[in-house]
Symmetry: C2
Subunit: 136 residues, 2 copies
């Protein structure tokens, strides 16, 4: 029972960390995601030929995106957190609205608790919802 | 040091479990992935509008794919395993060759150790490499 209460607390915490970083990202600022990511972070998105490994690579990549993103509002859809004591997986769909456009995303974030009890992202996977429509 | 050796062992085990299931999948048979997945598995792929939740949904979905996949050979590129005691994240790129065609994938698998010491998939995220080319 105690364990279940703790896990409930982890889910709320993880979703809250993610939303804070996302809202800052949505204003063109990658700093919060970078501060939340650990040194060994692995990263996928639809613009990359291969996954990225490590915070140095991700920092250089995100610097080039600084000031480029302007999301007016977002919906985090059906977030799910699956947690053990030291690792937690957050999965969700995301609708990001920019003016008249909506971008639909799939997202998997893996968080790991470090030695000073902070949860840090060690894996990020962003992909587009049905990028080829119904042709697959 | 002991901990590092154990983690090394986990990485080899996780990659081996994944390759076994993938090779059976590549012959049109989803049974190995279904047996390897836990009841609360969360699943993304490029054909879905929303993530799928739970083994029942995934089983019904994979049944419709039975016999449809015929991959001649594959390359698992730069697999990385990030592990704690009870959870492990496997990330890799995958090239799947079917005749003259090559399909390029991003993949994140999260494994969790259960109470009888088996590692089971609790999250699968498949996405296409650069599905929109260089237009994003």
């Amino acid at each position: 029972m105690k364990n279940e209460i703790q896990k409930e607390g982890i889910a709320e915490l993880i979703i809250s960390l993610e939303k804070q970083a996302l809202e800052i990202w949505n204003n063109g600022n990658p700093d919060a995601y970078l501060a939340l990511s650990d040194t060994d972070v692995v990263y996928f998105d639809p613009m990359l030929e291969r996954k990225m490994e490590g915070l140095d690579q991700l920092t250089a990549y995100y610097e080039r995106a600084r000031g480029m993103v302007h999301v007016d509002r977002y919906e985090m859809i059906c977030p799910v957190v699956q947690a053990t004591e030291d690792m937690a997986v957050l999965t969700f769909n995301l609708n990001s609205y920019e003016g008249d456009k909506v971008y639909k995303w799939n997202c998997t974030e893996v968080y790991r608790r470090n030695s000073v009890n902070e949860w840090k992202i060690i894996q990020t996977h962003w992909s587009l919802v049905k990028p080829l429509g119904d042709s697959m």
